[in-house]
């Protein structure tokens, strides 16, 4: 029943927002999903969730965004957040060098816990605070290039590049997924007709014991 409502999209992508505490992840999220910005936002506890549906190359893509807490104390629990995520938006604060230095730590965490094919986009947030800048734009770009990430400087406050950052990462994911689907389709169409009938008949009676777990 609810299924129909949930299926008003072509693709569903889970994106995690990560980065040090206070870099502005939650505000990036609220800017993107609700076009809101709150100067006095509270620190996230655990994780918060938001969804937004947008069009990518004619397809309806629903992004489920998990905004994780950056605080160290939640670390033990956060690793589970990466399960099923196809994209990660790694945020640092251009006015705080430390948050940029920690990018490597976050990348390591992603490699340890997330899918190896996860699409990562790095964003240097708070670009409106140019007078307090501690990380040069070029430094960000260099690191992104070295690590093979997409990169943008954003400002949740000025709504600069936020939409674009999500659009970029989602488009990239979409390309990967649709390419995979295409490959799968081709492989399937090559094997489908002869394979279909036999597999059912052969496997069905013998598969009883397996069903308990397969039906999950």
């Amino acid at each position: 029943m609810a299924g129909r409502v949930d299926h008003e999209y072509d693709y569903l992508f889970k994106i995690v927002l990560i980065g040090d505490s206070g870099v502005g992840k939650s505000n990036i999220l609220s800017r993107f999903t609700r076009n809101e910005f709150c100067l006095e936002s509270k620190s996230t506890i655990g994780v918060e969730f938001a969804t937004k549906t947008l069009q990518i190359e004619g397809k309806t893509v629903k992004a489920q965004i998990w905004d994780t807490a950056g605080q160290e104390r939640y670390r033990a629990i956060t690793s589970a957040y990466y399960r099923g995520a196809v994209g990660a938006l790694l945020v640092y604060d251009i006015t705080k060098k430390q948050t940029f230095d920690n990018v490597n730590r976050w990348l390591r965490e992603l490699r340890e816990h997330a899918d190896s094919n996860i699409v990562i986009m790095m964003t240097g947030n708070k670009s409106d605070l140019n007078h307090l800048r501690a990380v040069a734009d070029q430094d960000g770009q260099n690191l992104a290039e070295k690590e093979g990430l997409s990169f943008l400087e954003t400002s949740a406050l000025e709504a600069l590049n936020v939409e674009r950052a999500f659009q970029t990462i989602l488009t990239e994911i979409y390309h990967i997924v649709s390419k995979k689907a295409l490959a799968a389709q081709e492989a399937a169409s090559a094997a489908a007709l002869p394979g279909q009938g036999t597999t059912i008949n052969v496997n069905d009676p013998s598969g009883n014991d397996k069903r308990g777990c397969c039906s999950t």
Binding site: H7, I45, G46, R73, A76, I77, D204, G207, S215
Partner: protein, 479 residues
């Protein structure tokens, strides 16, 4: 709160267990989360199953709830009331549990902890209908984390209080059971992501005070009254008549609450699950009739058996509002063959039962039923069997229990038979059967994809089969 010295001390919530006694070795917040889910599984098994199957792990939202003792979920005004309630509870460790070295839920083993756990569960129950209507983990979490701020806090607190005793009992029982009773959680379906979610000892139900279930049912029923209308449009026509009938019964029960009973009767193992089952069905459709009957006839095992024959429960139990996705399909498949043989319709009943104790799938007796089904209905059984697995086993186990205490399975068979002609319209059955067979074919296609283990090739095939299934389910919802 008595500083960091009580049992519930938020300051230590993120350090590895301060009690050193934890079996799991996880941080207290995870233990507390699993204790909370555990309570939920006892209170509202279908909802619990739904959440577990979607992969909604408790710590995703309970971390936020517990970390600041619900401070983010309510207005300050409400919060102060709630905190008064919380801090008024004693925070010393329960004696019973103290003796047990390996408590699983140490963090909540105090009256205060029990209250917190109970309150969290009452919050989840508040969102019950909307959670059950959501087939997506993130959407569920979104609802849980953005708790509505127009709630009546007093009601939540009242409900939490009604659950508090049970919470304490469940906590301590859980720890004792875990030591004495190594029940393997065989929740075959879904990722059993949460630590404890589906692994509570199956004997637990027997120990829950009977009065609790009555009370629980009434509390929940009251709540359902408010939730009426949610998803009502999508309820298939067949059931409309039912719900009307049932509503009458409900009002009757409500005005005439049965006396609490403390006697330990033979029926004990049966009743709690019956009530759960009715809660399960009660979702949007108000199929509480079973409950009604159980409550009124505080009799013996036969009562339970008769119920199946009364034609009130059958078939529809596992229809779309079912929290379990698979059941949605399978129920139709089994409906379709109800008139073919009685074993089959028995299966339907069993299936309608929520997989309370999904454990013990490896039990012996169940296979008999499968074989029986196989012989009598041939291929159309396969799909049914697959999906109704958990429910079936539970029933069988219960029948076993009954058998030990004097009742037999025959009773069930007879009653199943009697339910046949009564409620089921022949024409509907024919079309349902066709639909069921169509669904089964698609299910088999998907199964074959799984079994051949070639996701690349099979994906498209599976997708098209899924699409077919979706079409059928749409069709069924519109009937």
């Amino acid at each position: 709160m008595s500083g960091a010295h009580g049992v519930v001390s938020m300051a230590e919530f993120f350090s590895p267990s301060p009690y050193g006694s934890s079996l799991t070795g996880f941080s207290p917040v995870i233990e507390a989360s699993s204790a909370m889910y555990h309570l939920l599984s006892v209170v509202d098994s279908p909802l619990h199953t739904h959440l577990v199957e979607l992969g909604v792990e408790p710590q995703y939202f309970s971390l936020r709830w517990l970390r600041v003792l619900f401070g983010r979920e309510f207005s300050l005004e409400d919060l102060l009331l709630l905190w008064d309630e919380i801090f008024a509870c004693d925070n010393t460790k329960c004696k019973k549990v103290e003796a047990e070295e390996s408590s699983n839920c140490g963090v909540l083993d105090s009256p205060r902890g029990a209250f917190i756990s109970a309150f969290a569960v009452s919050m989840i129950l508040k969102l019950r209908a909307s959670l059950l209507a959501t087939g997506n983990a993130t959407s569920c979490l979104q609802k849980l984390v953005n708790f509505p701020n127009d709630v009546n806090l007093e009601k939540l607190v009242a409900k939490a209080k009604s659950l508090q005793a049970l919470a304490a009992e469940v906590n301590s029982l859980n720890s004792i059971m875990l030591v004495h009773n190594e029940v393997k959680p065989a929740s075959a379906r879904g990722h059993s992501l949460s630590l404890d979610s589906s692994s509570y000892p199956r004997t637990l139900l027997n120990v829950v005070p009977e009065s609790y279930w009555e009370e629980k049912w009434r509390v929940l029923h009251n709540e359902e009254e408010h939730k009426q209308g949610v998803g009502k449009e999508e309820v298939p026509k067949i059931r409309k008549g039912w719900s009307e009938r049932v509503k009458l019964r409900l009002s009757r029960t409500e005005t005439d609450p049965p006396p609490l009973m403390k006697t330990v009767s033979i029926k004990l193992p049966e009743e709690p699950s019956s009530v759960i089952r009715s809660l399960f069905g009660s979702d949007e459709n108000k199929e509480n009739s079973v409950c009604d009957e159980v409550v009124e006839q505080q009799g013996s095992v036969e009562v339970a058996d008769k119920k199946f024959g009364s034609g009130e429960i059958p078939l529809n139990f596992s229809d779309p509002p079912s929290p379990i996705h698979g059941l949605e399909n399978s129920s139709v498949a089994s409906n379709s063959s109800v008139d073919e043989n009685e074993a089959e319709s028995c299966g339907t009943h069993r299936e309608g039962c929520p997989p309370v104790g999904v454990s013990a799938v490896s039990n012996g007796p169940p296979s008999e039923y499968d074989i029986q089904n196989d012989e009598s209905t041939g291929k159309s059984v396969a799909g049914v069997k697959e999906r109704s697995f958990s429910g079936k086993f539970l029933w069988l186990r219960k029948f076993e229990q009954n058998g030990v205490e004097g009742a037999t399975c025959e009773g069930c068979d007879n009653s199943c038979e009697s339910s046949k002609g009564e409620t089921v319209d022949q024409n509907t059955m024919v079309s349902l059967r066709n639909l069921g067979e169509a669904m089964l074919e698609n299910i088999q296609v998907i199964e074959s994809v799984f079994e051949t283990g070639s996701p690349e090739n099979g994906k498209v095939t599976a997708m098209s089969a899924l699409n077919e299934l979706r079409k059928i389910s749409n069709l069924l919802s519109q009937m």
